[in-house]
Protein backbone atom coordinates (compact mmCIF):
# COMPACT_ATOMS: atom_id res chain seq x y z
CA UNK A 1 0.00 0.00 0.00
CA UNK A 2 1.40 3.38 -1.04
CA UNK A 3 0.67 6.25 1.30
CA UNK A 4 1.45 9.96 0.92
CA UNK A 5 1.38 12.51 3.73
CA UNK A 6 1.61 16.22 2.90
CA UNK A 7 3.04 18.38 5.64
CA UNK A 8 3.81 22.06 6.04
CA UNK A 9 6.26 23.80 8.28
CA UNK A 10 4.78 26.79 10.12
CA UNK A 11 6.02 29.24 12.74
CA UNK A 12 5.17 28.75 16.37
CA UNK A 13 1.96 30.75 16.76
CA UNK A 14 3.19 32.34 19.96
CA UNK A 15 5.97 34.05 17.99
CA UNK A 16 6.33 37.79 17.83
CA UNK A 17 5.43 38.33 14.17
CA UNK A 18 6.67 41.13 11.92
CA UNK A 19 5.35 42.05 8.50
CA UNK A 20 7.98 41.60 5.75
CA UNK A 21 9.54 44.46 3.76
CA UNK A 22 7.08 44.43 0.86
CA UNK A 23 4.12 44.10 3.24
CA UNK A 24 2.75 40.87 1.82
CA UNK A 25 3.64 38.19 4.37
CA UNK A 26 5.25 37.80 7.78
CA UNK A 27 9.01 38.09 8.11
CA UNK A 28 10.50 34.59 8.12
CA UNK A 29 13.64 35.26 10.09
CA UNK A 30 13.85 34.95 13.90
CA UNK A 31 10.92 32.55 14.08
CA UNK A 32 10.80 29.11 15.67
CA UNK A 33 9.51 26.65 13.05
CA UNK A 34 7.62 23.43 13.62
CA UNK A 35 5.39 20.93 11.86
CA UNK A 36 1.86 22.24 11.26
CA UNK A 37 -0.22 20.87 14.13
CA UNK A 38 -2.94 19.37 11.90
CA UNK A 39 -0.27 17.57 9.85
CA UNK A 40 1.10 15.82 12.94
CA UNK A 41 -2.23 14.01 13.14
CA UNK A 42 -1.90 13.15 9.45
CA UNK A 43 1.58 11.65 9.92
CA UNK A 44 0.45 9.71 12.97
CA UNK A 45 -2.59 8.27 11.17
CA UNK A 46 -0.48 7.21 8.19
CA UNK A 47 2.03 5.47 10.48
CA UNK A 48 -0.77 3.74 12.38
CA UNK A 49 -2.23 2.55 9.11
CA UNK A 50 1.15 1.15 8.08
CA UNK A 51 1.37 -0.64 11.41
CA UNK A 52 -2.09 -2.06 10.80
CA UNK A 53 -1.64 -3.33 7.26
CA UNK A 54 2.05 -4.22 7.44
CA UNK A 55 2.99 -3.98 3.79
CA UNK A 56 2.90 -0.22 3.31
CA UNK A 57 5.25 2.55 2.35
CA UNK A 58 4.77 6.03 3.72
CA UNK A 59 6.15 9.01 1.78
CA UNK A 60 6.07 12.38 3.47
CA UNK A 61 6.24 15.51 1.33
CA UNK A 62 6.82 19.17 2.10
CA UNK A 63 7.24 22.26 -0.06
CA UNK A 64 9.61 24.97 1.09
CA UNK A 65 13.15 26.16 1.71
CA UNK A 66 16.05 24.26 3.31
CA UNK A 67 14.58 24.49 6.82
CA UNK A 68 11.52 22.31 5.98
CA UNK A 69 13.89 19.33 6.13
CA UNK A 70 13.53 19.58 9.90
CA UNK A 71 9.79 18.92 9.70
CA UNK A 72 10.43 16.06 7.26
CA UNK A 73 13.00 14.53 9.60
CA UNK A 74 10.50 14.65 12.42
CA UNK A 75 7.97 12.77 10.26
CA UNK A 76 10.66 10.18 9.40
CA UNK A 77 11.40 9.79 13.09
CA UNK A 78 7.67 9.30 13.73
CA UNK A 79 7.76 6.37 11.30
CA UNK A 80 7.44 7.59 7.71
CA UNK A 81 9.66 5.62 5.29
CA UNK A 82 10.91 8.30 2.93
CA UNK A 83 10.73 12.06 2.55
CA UNK A 84 10.53 14.42 -0.38
CA UNK A 85 11.30 18.10 -0.22
CA UNK A 86 10.04 20.20 -3.12
CA UNK A 87 12.55 23.03 -2.87
CA UNK A 88 10.95 26.46 -3.00
CA UNK A 89 12.25 29.54 -1.20
CA UNK A 90 9.09 31.40 -2.18
CA UNK A 91 6.47 28.83 -1.23
CA UNK A 92 4.64 31.48 0.83
CA UNK A 93 3.85 33.36 -2.39
CA UNK A 94 2.11 30.38 -3.97
CA UNK A 95 -1.65 30.13 -3.65
CA UNK A 96 -3.48 26.93 -2.61
CA UNK A 97 -4.23 26.14 -6.26
CA UNK A 98 -0.52 26.18 -7.18
CA UNK A 99 0.52 24.19 -4.11
CA UNK A 100 -2.13 21.55 -4.81
CA UNK A 101 -1.17 21.42 -8.51
CA UNK A 102 2.44 20.73 -7.62
CA UNK A 103 1.54 17.96 -5.18
CA UNK A 104 -0.95 16.43 -7.63
CA UNK A 105 1.73 16.48 -10.34
CA UNK A 106 4.09 14.65 -7.97
CA UNK A 107 1.43 12.13 -6.90
CA UNK A 108 -0.17 11.41 -10.27
CA UNK A 109 2.32 8.81 -11.53
CA UNK A 110 2.93 7.25 -8.13
CA UNK A 111 -0.64 6.02 -7.72
CA UNK A 112 -0.93 6.48 -3.97
CA UNK A 113 -3.73 4.47 -2.36
CA UNK A 114 -4.20 6.99 0.40
CA UNK A 115 -3.20 10.60 0.85
CA UNK A 116 -3.28 12.32 4.24
CA UNK A 117 -3.14 16.09 4.74
CA UNK A 118 -3.95 18.42 7.61
CA UNK A 119 -7.34 20.12 7.39
CA UNK A 120 -5.63 23.51 7.19
CA UNK A 121 -2.33 25.19 7.96
CA UNK A 122 -1.97 27.17 11.15
CA UNK A 123 -0.55 30.21 9.39
CA UNK A 124 -2.50 30.73 6.15
CA UNK A 125 -5.51 28.68 7.17
CA UNK A 126 -7.04 28.34 3.71
CA UNK A 127 -8.09 24.73 4.20
CA UNK A 128 -8.15 24.11 0.44
CA UNK A 129 -5.02 22.18 -0.49
CA UNK A 130 -6.19 18.68 0.48
CA UNK A 131 -9.51 18.83 -1.35
CA UNK A 132 -7.89 20.42 -4.40
CA UNK A 133 -5.27 17.65 -4.67
CA UNK A 134 -8.02 15.02 -4.57
CA UNK A 135 -10.13 16.83 -7.15
CA UNK A 136 -7.11 17.20 -9.44
CA UNK A 137 -6.40 13.47 -9.11
CA UNK A 138 -10.13 12.63 -9.49
CA UNK A 139 -10.25 10.67 -6.25
CA UNK A 140 -12.79 11.08 -3.40
CA UNK A 141 -11.84 13.15 -0.37
CA UNK A 142 -13.20 13.36 3.16
CA UNK A 143 -12.46 16.52 5.15
CA UNK A 144 -12.01 17.34 8.85
CA UNK A 145 -11.79 13.77 10.06
CA UNK A 146 -11.61 12.97 13.78
CA UNK A 147 -11.83 9.20 13.43
CA UNK A 148 -10.41 6.87 10.80
CA UNK A 149 -10.58 3.17 10.10
CA UNK A 150 -9.54 1.09 7.14
CA UNK A 151 -10.37 -2.42 6.09
CA UNK A 152 -10.59 -4.29 2.80
CA UNK A 153 -10.00 -1.25 0.65
CA UNK A 154 -12.64 0.84 2.38
CA UNK A 155 -12.30 3.83 4.67
CA UNK A 156 -14.85 4.72 7.31
CA UNK A 157 -14.21 8.18 8.70
CA UNK A 158 -15.97 10.49 11.09
CA UNK A 159 -16.14 14.10 9.97
CA UNK A 160 -16.41 16.73 12.62
CA UNK A 161 -19.28 19.15 12.21
CA UNK A 162 -20.10 22.20 14.30
CA UNK A 163 -21.38 21.82 17.87
CA UNK A 164 -19.74 18.48 18.60
CA UNK A 165 -21.78 16.50 16.06
CA UNK A 166 -19.99 14.06 13.78
CA UNK A 167 -21.03 12.50 10.53
CA UNK A 168 -19.97 9.08 9.38
CA UNK A 169 -18.76 8.75 5.81
CA UNK A 170 -17.48 5.77 3.82
CA UNK A 171 -15.48 5.56 0.64
CA UNK A 172 -13.13 3.23 -1.23
CA UNK A 173 -9.44 3.84 -1.82
CA UNK A 174 -7.75 5.53 -3.59
CA UNK A 175 -8.87 8.49 -1.52
CA UNK A 176 -7.65 11.52 0.40
CA UNK A 177 -8.52 12.59 3.92
CA UNK A 178 -7.82 15.89 5.71
CA UNK A 179 -7.06 15.54 9.40
CA UNK A 180 -8.48 17.55 12.28
CA UNK A 181 -7.18 18.00 15.84
CA UNK A 182 -7.99 15.11 18.16
CA UNK A 183 -7.90 12.43 15.42
CA UNK A 184 -5.26 10.52 17.40
CA UNK A 185 -2.36 11.21 19.74
CA UNK A 186 0.71 12.05 17.66
CA UNK A 187 3.73 10.15 19.00
CA UNK A 188 6.95 11.79 20.08
CA UNK A 189 9.92 10.56 18.10
CA UNK A 190 12.13 8.45 20.39
CA UNK A 191 15.91 8.81 20.30
CA UNK A 192 16.48 5.44 18.55
CA UNK A 193 13.89 6.42 15.94
CA UNK A 194 15.53 9.80 15.44
CA UNK A 195 18.82 7.97 14.82
CA UNK A 196 17.12 5.52 12.43
CA UNK A 197 15.51 8.41 10.55
CA UNK A 198 18.94 9.76 9.66
CA UNK A 199 19.45 6.78 7.37
CA UNK A 200 16.15 7.16 5.56
CA UNK A 201 15.86 8.65 2.09
CA UNK A 202 15.32 12.41 1.88
CA UNK A 203 14.98 13.45 -1.72
CA UNK A 204 15.05 17.11 -2.83
CA UNK A 205 13.45 18.17 -6.10
CA UNK A 206 13.14 21.71 -7.45
CA UNK A 207 9.53 22.87 -7.51
CA UNK A 208 10.06 24.28 -11.01
CA UNK A 209 9.99 20.73 -12.37
CA UNK A 210 6.40 20.38 -11.20
CA UNK A 211 4.92 23.88 -11.17
CA UNK A 212 3.11 24.53 -14.44
CA UNK A 213 0.27 26.88 -13.46
CA UNK A 214 -0.24 30.52 -12.51
CA UNK A 215 -1.81 31.46 -9.20
CA UNK A 216 -5.39 32.65 -9.08
CA UNK A 217 -4.87 34.98 -6.14
CA UNK A 218 -2.10 36.77 -4.28
CA UNK A 219 -1.61 38.66 -1.07
CA UNK A 220 -2.04 42.36 -1.75
CA UNK A 221 -1.36 43.52 1.77
CA UNK A 222 -0.63 42.10 5.19
CA UNK A 223 -0.98 43.96 8.47
CA UNK A 224 -1.83 43.70 12.14
CA UNK A 225 -5.51 44.11 12.94
CA UNK A 226 -6.39 47.46 14.37
CA UNK A 227 -6.39 47.31 18.16
CA UNK A 228 -9.95 48.02 19.18
CA UNK A 229 -8.78 49.08 22.58
CA UNK A 230 -11.26 49.52 25.43
CA UNK A 231 -9.87 46.65 27.41
CA UNK A 232 -7.67 47.36 30.38
CA UNK A 233 -4.17 45.89 30.26
CA UNK A 234 -2.59 45.03 33.60
CA UNK A 235 1.06 44.18 34.08
CA UNK A 236 3.40 43.90 37.03
CA UNK A 237 3.81 42.03 40.30
CA UNK A 238 1.37 39.12 40.58
CA UNK A 239 0.21 40.07 44.08
CA UNK A 240 -0.68 43.61 42.99
CA UNK A 241 -2.29 42.28 39.84
CA UNK A 242 -4.51 39.97 41.86
CA UNK A 243 -5.59 42.84 44.16
CA UNK A 244 -6.36 45.06 41.18
CA UNK A 245 -8.33 42.35 39.43
CA UNK A 246 -10.37 41.51 42.54
CA UNK A 247 -11.25 45.18 42.95
CA UNK A 248 -12.38 45.43 39.32
CA UNK A 249 -14.43 42.25 39.48
CA UNK A 250 -16.11 43.46 42.65
CA UNK A 251 -16.96 46.88 41.22
CA UNK A 252 -17.96 45.80 37.73
CA UNK A 253 -19.89 42.64 38.33
CA UNK A 254 -19.97 42.09 42.05
CA UNK A 255 -18.74 38.53 41.76
CA UNK A 256 -17.72 38.67 45.39
CA UNK A 257 -21.10 39.82 46.64
CA UNK A 258 -22.64 36.38 46.47
Amino acid sequence: MQILVCIKQVPDMESKFKVNADGTWYEGTDLAWRMNEYDEYAVEQAVQLKEQVGAADVTVLSIGPERVKEALKKALAMGADRAVQLIDDFAYQKDPFQIASVIAAFAREKKFDLIFTGMQSQDRGSGQVGVLIAEMLSIPSITTIVDFSFSEGQIVAKRELEGGIKSIVKTKVPALVTCQLGLNTPRYPTLPNIMKAKRKELLSISISELLKVEGKQETAKMYFPEKKGGGLVLEGDVGDLADQLIKILDEKIGVLAR
Partner: protein, 306 residues
Protein backbone atom coordinates in the same frame (compact mmCIF):
# COMPACT_ATOMS: atom_id res chain seq x y z
CA UNK B 1 -22.71 42.01 -9.39
CA UNK B 2 -24.50 38.75 -8.71
CA UNK B 3 -23.90 36.33 -5.84
CA UNK B 4 -24.99 32.73 -5.49
CA UNK B 5 -25.55 31.99 -1.80
CA UNK B 6 -25.10 28.39 -0.70
CA UNK B 7 -27.41 27.78 2.27
CA UNK B 8 -27.04 24.85 4.65
CA UNK B 9 -29.21 22.22 6.19
CA UNK B 10 -28.30 20.10 9.22
CA UNK B 11 -30.36 17.26 10.59
CA UNK B 12 -33.50 18.48 8.87
CA UNK B 13 -33.12 22.12 9.86
CA UNK B 14 -32.03 25.24 8.04
CA UNK B 15 -28.89 26.70 9.59
CA UNK B 16 -29.02 30.29 10.78
CA UNK B 17 -25.71 30.99 9.08
CA UNK B 18 -27.75 31.15 5.88
CA UNK B 19 -28.75 34.68 6.88
CA UNK B 20 -25.10 35.69 7.21
CA UNK B 21 -24.78 34.96 3.49
CA UNK B 22 -27.77 37.22 2.82
CA UNK B 23 -26.23 39.95 4.98
CA UNK B 24 -22.96 39.65 3.10
CA UNK B 25 -24.69 40.05 -0.29
CA UNK B 26 -26.57 43.07 1.07
CA UNK B 27 -23.35 44.64 2.31
CA UNK B 28 -21.85 44.22 -1.16
CA UNK B 29 -24.99 45.58 -2.79
CA UNK B 30 -25.13 42.39 -4.85
CA UNK B 31 -28.15 40.73 -6.44
CA UNK B 32 -28.47 37.22 -5.12
CA UNK B 33 -29.98 33.82 -5.71
CA UNK B 34 -29.82 30.91 -3.26
CA UNK B 35 -28.97 27.22 -3.47
CA UNK B 36 -30.04 24.68 -0.85
CA UNK B 37 -30.15 20.95 -0.46
CA UNK B 38 -33.01 20.88 2.02
CA UNK B 39 -36.74 20.55 2.13
CA UNK B 40 -39.91 22.34 1.05
CA UNK B 41 -41.03 22.08 4.66
CA UNK B 42 -38.45 24.46 6.03
CA UNK B 43 -37.63 27.21 3.59
CA UNK B 44 -35.43 30.20 4.39
CA UNK B 45 -37.08 33.57 4.83
CA UNK B 46 -35.62 34.96 1.68
CA UNK B 47 -36.89 37.28 -0.98
CA UNK B 48 -35.50 35.75 -4.14
CA UNK B 49 -35.00 32.64 -6.23
CA UNK B 50 -34.14 29.48 -4.34
CA UNK B 51 -32.76 26.47 -6.20
CA UNK B 52 -33.85 23.59 -4.04
CA UNK B 53 -32.74 19.97 -4.12
CA UNK B 54 -34.31 17.39 -1.86
CA UNK B 55 -32.05 16.37 1.04
CA UNK B 56 -34.00 13.16 1.62
CA UNK B 57 -32.95 12.12 -1.88
CA UNK B 58 -29.43 13.61 -2.08
CA UNK B 59 -28.52 13.57 1.64
CA UNK B 60 -27.34 16.61 3.57
CA UNK B 61 -23.73 15.83 2.82
CA UNK B 62 -22.52 14.50 -0.44
CA UNK B 63 -19.91 16.71 -2.04
CA UNK B 64 -19.90 14.87 -5.35
CA UNK B 65 -23.64 15.16 -5.91
CA UNK B 66 -24.01 18.63 -4.37
CA UNK B 67 -21.13 19.87 -6.50
CA UNK B 68 -22.82 18.76 -9.69
CA UNK B 69 -26.14 20.39 -8.80
CA UNK B 70 -24.38 23.61 -7.84
CA UNK B 71 -22.43 23.68 -11.09
CA UNK B 72 -25.69 23.29 -13.01
CA UNK B 73 -27.12 26.31 -11.20
CA UNK B 74 -23.91 28.28 -11.77
CA UNK B 75 -24.06 27.57 -15.51
CA UNK B 76 -27.59 28.90 -15.57
CA UNK B 77 -27.12 31.94 -13.31
CA UNK B 78 -23.53 32.95 -14.14
CA UNK B 79 -22.84 34.55 -10.73
CA UNK B 80 -19.74 36.69 -10.17
CA UNK B 81 -19.38 35.22 -6.73
CA UNK B 82 -20.30 31.93 -5.05
CA UNK B 83 -20.70 32.40 -1.30
CA UNK B 84 -20.43 29.66 1.35
CA UNK B 85 -20.20 29.71 5.14
CA UNK B 86 -16.74 28.77 6.40
CA UNK B 87 -18.23 25.65 7.95
CA UNK B 88 -17.68 21.91 7.71
CA UNK B 89 -20.05 21.96 4.72
CA UNK B 90 -18.64 25.09 3.12
CA UNK B 91 -14.93 24.40 3.37
CA UNK B 92 -15.54 20.92 1.96
CA UNK B 93 -17.58 22.00 -1.04
CA UNK B 94 -16.05 25.39 -1.91
CA UNK B 95 -12.64 24.14 -3.17
CA UNK B 96 -14.40 21.60 -5.39
CA UNK B 97 -16.49 24.35 -6.95
CA UNK B 98 -13.57 26.77 -7.33
CA UNK B 99 -11.51 24.18 -9.17
CA UNK B 100 -14.37 23.25 -11.48
CA UNK B 101 -14.93 26.95 -12.28
CA UNK B 102 -11.23 27.73 -12.54
CA UNK B 103 -11.94 30.54 -10.09
CA UNK B 104 -10.00 31.86 -7.10
CA UNK B 105 -11.25 30.74 -3.69
CA UNK B 106 -10.73 32.96 -0.68
CA UNK B 107 -11.34 31.18 2.65
CA UNK B 108 -12.61 32.57 5.93
CA UNK B 109 -13.44 36.10 4.81
CA UNK B 110 -13.89 38.49 7.75
CA UNK B 111 -14.30 41.75 5.83
CA UNK B 112 -14.50 43.27 2.37
CA UNK B 113 -12.57 46.52 1.91
CA UNK B 114 -13.26 48.27 -1.42
CA UNK B 115 -14.29 44.97 -2.91
CA UNK B 116 -11.14 43.20 -1.66
CA UNK B 117 -11.62 40.22 0.68
CA UNK B 118 -9.77 40.28 4.01
CA UNK B 119 -8.82 37.08 5.85
CA UNK B 120 -7.09 36.30 9.14
CA UNK B 121 -3.61 34.76 9.24
CA UNK B 122 -1.71 33.04 12.07
CA UNK B 123 -4.61 32.40 14.41
CA UNK B 124 -5.94 35.91 13.91
CA UNK B 125 -2.71 37.68 14.81
CA UNK B 126 -2.46 39.20 11.32
CA UNK B 127 -4.80 40.21 8.49
CA UNK B 128 -4.32 39.64 4.80
CA UNK B 129 -5.98 41.42 1.86
CA UNK B 130 -6.32 39.07 -1.08
CA UNK B 131 -6.10 40.16 -4.70
CA UNK B 132 -8.21 37.87 -6.82
CA UNK B 133 -7.02 37.37 -10.39
CA UNK B 134 -10.02 35.58 -11.85
CA UNK B 135 -13.35 37.11 -12.91
CA UNK B 136 -15.42 34.67 -10.88
CA UNK B 137 -14.68 34.22 -7.20
CA UNK B 138 -15.59 31.69 -4.52
CA UNK B 139 -15.60 32.79 -0.88
CA UNK B 140 -16.29 31.19 2.47
CA UNK B 141 -17.39 33.55 5.26
CA UNK B 142 -16.23 33.34 8.83
CA UNK B 143 -19.24 32.74 11.03
CA UNK B 144 -20.72 35.52 13.09
CA UNK B 145 -19.09 38.35 11.13
CA UNK B 146 -21.85 39.39 8.74
CA UNK B 147 -25.26 39.79 10.30
CA UNK B 148 -28.60 41.15 9.14
CA UNK B 149 -29.70 44.49 10.63
CA UNK B 150 -33.35 43.56 10.31
CA UNK B 151 -35.16 40.29 10.91
CA UNK B 152 -35.03 38.09 7.80
CA UNK B 153 -38.27 38.10 5.81
CA UNK B 154 -39.79 37.10 2.52
CA UNK B 155 -40.59 33.80 0.92
CA UNK B 156 -38.52 32.46 -1.92
CA UNK B 157 -39.53 31.48 -5.42
CA UNK B 158 -38.58 27.83 -5.42
CA UNK B 159 -36.97 26.20 -8.47
CA UNK B 160 -36.60 22.43 -7.88
CA UNK B 161 -33.36 20.80 -9.09
CA UNK B 162 -32.20 17.23 -9.69
CA UNK B 163 -29.17 15.34 -10.90
CA UNK B 164 -28.15 11.85 -11.92
CA UNK B 165 -24.47 11.94 -11.00
CA UNK B 166 -22.91 8.81 -9.49
CA UNK B 167 -21.90 8.67 -5.84
CA UNK B 168 -18.37 7.94 -4.59
CA UNK B 169 -18.97 8.75 -0.96
CA UNK B 170 -21.61 7.26 1.26
CA UNK B 171 -23.05 9.39 4.03
CA UNK B 172 -24.06 7.07 6.88
CA UNK B 173 -25.67 9.54 9.27
CA UNK B 174 -24.80 11.54 12.35
CA UNK B 175 -23.30 10.80 15.72
CA UNK B 176 -24.60 13.13 18.40
CA UNK B 177 -22.39 15.12 20.73
CA UNK B 178 -21.62 13.62 24.10
CA UNK B 179 -23.81 15.13 26.77
CA UNK B 180 -24.26 14.79 30.49
CA UNK B 181 -22.13 16.05 33.34
CA UNK B 182 -21.59 19.78 33.46
CA UNK B 183 -23.80 22.22 31.61
CA UNK B 184 -21.57 25.20 30.99
CA UNK B 185 -24.32 27.05 29.16
CA UNK B 186 -25.99 27.76 32.53
CA UNK B 187 -22.88 28.76 34.50
CA UNK B 188 -22.58 32.41 35.58
CA UNK B 189 -18.83 32.22 36.01
CA UNK B 190 -16.52 30.13 33.82
CA UNK B 191 -12.77 29.86 34.23
CA UNK B 192 -11.24 28.15 31.21
CA UNK B 193 -7.94 26.39 30.80
CA UNK B 194 -6.01 26.69 27.55
CA UNK B 195 -2.89 24.97 26.29
CA UNK B 196 -0.92 27.58 28.24
CA UNK B 197 -1.55 25.59 31.43
CA UNK B 198 1.28 23.40 30.14
CA UNK B 199 0.49 20.11 31.84
CA UNK B 200 -2.55 18.13 32.99
CA UNK B 201 -1.86 18.62 36.69
CA UNK B 202 -2.50 22.34 36.28
CA UNK B 203 -6.17 21.77 35.50
CA UNK B 204 -6.60 21.55 39.26
CA UNK B 205 -5.36 25.12 39.62
CA UNK B 206 -8.00 26.32 37.15
CA UNK B 207 -10.70 24.28 38.88
CA UNK B 208 -9.73 25.85 42.21
CA UNK B 209 -10.02 29.36 40.81
CA UNK B 210 -13.41 28.49 39.31
CA UNK B 211 -14.53 27.21 42.70
CA UNK B 212 -13.28 30.33 44.48
CA UNK B 213 -15.33 32.42 42.06
CA UNK B 214 -18.37 30.19 42.50
CA UNK B 215 -18.35 28.87 38.94
CA UNK B 216 -17.40 26.01 36.66
CA UNK B 217 -14.25 25.36 34.75
CA UNK B 218 -14.06 25.03 30.98
CA UNK B 219 -11.31 24.32 28.49
CA UNK B 220 -10.09 25.07 25.01
CA UNK B 221 -9.87 22.35 22.44
CA UNK B 222 -6.22 21.26 22.74
CA UNK B 223 -6.80 20.67 26.45
CA UNK B 224 -9.75 18.42 25.62
CA UNK B 225 -7.98 16.67 22.74
CA UNK B 226 -5.11 15.86 25.10
CA UNK B 227 -7.71 14.43 27.49
CA UNK B 228 -6.82 16.82 30.29
CA UNK B 229 -10.52 17.71 30.49
CA UNK B 230 -13.76 16.04 29.32
CA UNK B 231 -15.32 17.02 26.03
CA UNK B 232 -18.39 18.55 27.65
CA UNK B 233 -16.13 21.25 29.09
CA UNK B 234 -14.91 22.41 25.69
CA UNK B 235 -15.90 25.93 24.73
CA UNK B 236 -16.04 26.87 21.05
CA UNK B 237 -17.45 26.07 17.63
CA UNK B 238 -17.11 22.35 18.14
CA UNK B 239 -17.85 22.54 21.84
CA UNK B 240 -20.25 24.56 23.94
CA UNK B 241 -21.53 28.07 23.38
CA UNK B 242 -21.56 29.91 26.68
CA UNK B 243 -22.70 33.31 27.92
CA UNK B 244 -21.65 33.72 31.55
CA UNK B 245 -21.40 36.98 33.48
CA UNK B 246 -17.68 36.39 33.87
CA UNK B 247 -15.35 34.41 31.61
CA UNK B 248 -11.73 33.99 32.65
CA UNK B 249 -9.49 32.69 29.85
CA UNK B 250 -6.25 31.26 31.26
CA UNK B 251 -3.50 30.53 28.73
CA UNK B 252 -5.89 30.71 25.76
CA UNK B 253 -4.69 32.46 22.61
CA UNK B 254 -8.13 33.42 21.35
CA UNK B 255 -8.37 31.48 18.09
CA UNK B 256 -11.54 32.31 16.21
CA UNK B 257 -13.10 28.92 16.90
CA UNK B 258 -12.69 29.46 20.63
CA UNK B 259 -13.99 33.03 20.53
CA UNK B 260 -17.08 31.81 18.68
CA UNK B 261 -18.10 29.91 21.79
CA UNK B 262 -17.52 32.59 24.42
CA UNK B 263 -17.85 36.02 22.89
CA UNK B 264 -21.33 36.49 24.35
CA UNK B 265 -19.79 36.53 27.83
CA UNK B 266 -20.60 39.76 29.67
CA UNK B 267 -17.15 40.38 31.13
CA UNK B 268 -13.96 38.74 29.91
CA UNK B 269 -10.69 38.49 31.80
CA UNK B 270 -7.71 37.02 29.95
CA UNK B 271 -4.51 35.85 31.58
CA UNK B 272 -1.69 35.38 29.10
CA UNK B 273 2.06 35.84 28.82
CA UNK B 274 1.76 36.99 25.20
CA UNK B 275 0.71 40.65 24.87
CA UNK B 276 -0.21 40.08 21.24
CA UNK B 277 -2.48 37.10 21.82
CA UNK B 278 -5.75 37.74 19.91
CA UNK B 279 -7.77 37.12 23.11
CA UNK B 280 -6.57 40.61 24.15
CA UNK B 281 -8.84 42.07 21.48
CA UNK B 282 -12.00 41.01 23.25
CA UNK B 283 -10.86 40.97 26.89
CA UNK B 284 -12.22 43.64 29.23
CA UNK B 285 -9.21 43.07 31.44
CA UNK B 286 -6.04 41.60 30.00
CA UNK B 287 -3.63 40.43 32.66
CA UNK B 288 -0.15 39.94 31.25
CA UNK B 289 1.24 37.27 33.56
CA UNK B 290 2.36 33.69 33.85
CA UNK B 291 -0.81 31.90 34.92
CA UNK B 292 1.17 29.41 37.00
CA UNK B 293 2.23 32.22 39.27
CA UNK B 294 -0.81 34.44 39.00
CA UNK B 295 -3.71 31.99 39.33
CA UNK B 296 -2.72 30.49 42.72
CA UNK B 297 -2.16 33.96 44.18
CA UNK B 298 -5.52 35.18 42.89
CA UNK B 299 -7.28 32.08 44.18
CA UNK B 300 -5.74 32.40 47.61
CA UNK B 301 -6.74 36.05 47.92
CA UNK B 302 -10.29 35.24 46.84
CA UNK B 303 -10.56 32.42 49.36
CA UNK B 304 -9.27 34.65 52.13
CA UNK B 305 -11.84 37.35 51.40
CA UNK B 306 -14.85 35.07 51.59
Amino acid sequence: MKALLVAEYRDGKLLNSTYELVAFAEQLGADSVMFLVGSENMLPQYDGTLYLADSSKYSEFNPVVHKQMLLDVITKEQPDMVVFSHSSYGWDLAPRISLALNAAHVSEVVDIINGVPVVPVCNGKLRREVKVKTTQMVVTLQSGVFSLDVEPSGSPTVVPIDTEVAVQLVFCGYEEAETGGVDLSKAEVIVSAGRGIGKPENIEMIAQLAKALGGEFGASRPVVDAEWAEHNRQVGTTGQTVSPKLYVACGISGAIQHLAGMKKSEFVVAINTDKDAPIGEIADVFVIADLKQFVPVLTEKLVNIS
